[in-house]
């Protein structure tokens, strides 16, 4: 499917009436859907929105939004445990990375097209050394950070890409962020920082790629923390052209994080941050 055009802005006063009566389109794996909801662990649109990926158990499925039936979908087979996270390459449409309980990160290219029975196998993979919990792709598409169950963070170089060469992916030595659990990570839109959300209820901002901690932000209570945890994660899902508006959004949710980022955005960082690496 070609990528659809961008929507015109919708004013908040008209939101409810605009969506009233909209019936959702259902993408079902079965011809006659059961009344028990299928356990779909994660889903993600490709960067142009031309494809929608879902994970359920050890399976990853790529749907064509134009054709909501399972015959028009593609199945990515290769994980032996449940898949925890999938991320699309923000710069190369069709490239997707997954991680899960089997402790691997797998790279797929859905443009290759499915093999027999609409099933595809991974193009490349790497063993993390423990179960994979989350993944984030840098805005340049050159790096992945993977989080393991034991809270070790592993940067992976994917500059070689999935296609066109036979070189393996390379993994840097993993590290822990202090003693706390790390639940999610996300890149800032500039790609110069990563955000990490921790079990102790803080959001940490780290320099990328040095992973040196710049600042730590404490939530008001557990509930707020879990909300913010995801806002920092998902905010980077905004496409690159919206970097500016995203900074505004970050400010409404996390003034302190926004202040940290803006203090680093000039040529001479003035905040408490360590000197950012420009590499």
């Amino acid at each position: 499917m070609p990528a659809p055009a961008r929507s015109r802005p919708l004013k908040k006063d008209f939101f409810s009436q605009t969506f009233k009566g909209q019936k959702p389109v259902v993408f079902s794996e079965n011809a006659r859907p059961s009344t028990i909801p299928p356990h779909i662990r994660h889903l993600a649109w490709s960067s142009t929105g031309a494809a929608l990926a879902t994970t359920s158990g050890s399976k990853v499925r790529i749907w064509n939004p134009d054709r909501p039936n399972v015959k028009s979908s593609q199945e990515l087979l290769g994980h032996v445990g449940s898949v925890e996270k999938l991320v699309w390459n923000p710069t190369r449409e069709g490239e997707i990375a997954t991680t899960g309980n089997d402790g691997t990160v797998k790279l797929w290219d859905v443009r290759v097209g499915p093999g027999a029975h609409n099933k595809a196998v991974p193009v490349k993979e790497i063993a993390l050394g423990d179960g994979g919990l989350f993944l984030a792709w840098s805005p340049t598409g050159q790096h992945l950070v993977a989080g393991r169950r034991d809270d070790v963070i592993v940067p992976i170089d994917v500059r070689m890409g999935a296609m066109g060469n036979t070189e393996d992916l390379t993994m840097q030595e993993g590290r822990k962020l202090g003693s706390a659990q790390t639940n999610q990570m996300a890149f800032s839109n500039s790609g110069r920082e990563v955000f990490a959300t921790t079990g102790e209820g803080t959001v940490k901002v780290l320099d990328w790629p040095s992973m040196v901690r710049i600042s730590s932000h404490i939530g008001h209570n557990t509930r707020l923390t879990s909300y913010i945890r995801h806002s920092s994660t998902h905010s980077t899902h905004i496409p690159a052209p919206h970097t500016a508006s995203n900074t505004v959004l970050m400010a409404t949710l996390w003034l302190s994080v926004a202040a940290t980022l803006s203090s680093r955005s000039g040529t001479q960082p003035t905040g408490s941050a360590s000197t950012p690496s420009q590499t």
Binding site: F27, P38, G49
Partner: protein, 81 residues
């Protein structure tokens, strides 16, 4: 919204945030859409079950979510929204 938020997503233009309670025992069903600037809730999409993952389309006001019966659902798909 009350209860912990399990998933959330910004719309492509950064105007709206939607969230759901996923897997939280005392969580509510439905998807709450808030204006990102003011924080006010502008709409709630009703669902039969608790939603555990959702994502706005990167270019349109189309919202994909899972946790409900049938499979993945997409509100607004193919429409001019």
């Amino acid at each position: 919204m009350t209860g912990s938020i399990h998933c959330l997503s910004f719309s492509f233009d950064g105007t709206y945030i939607c969230g759901a309670h996923g897997m939280d025992k005392d969580g509510d069903k439905g998807i709450h859409v808030a204006c990102a600037q003011t924080g006010e809730t502008v709409h709630t999409f009703d669902t039969t079950h608790i939603i555990n993952v959702l994502a706005w389309h990167p270019l349109r006001y189309w919202l994909a979510y899972a946790g409900d019966t049938g499979g993945v659902k997409v509100i607004g798909l193919g429409s001019n929204l």
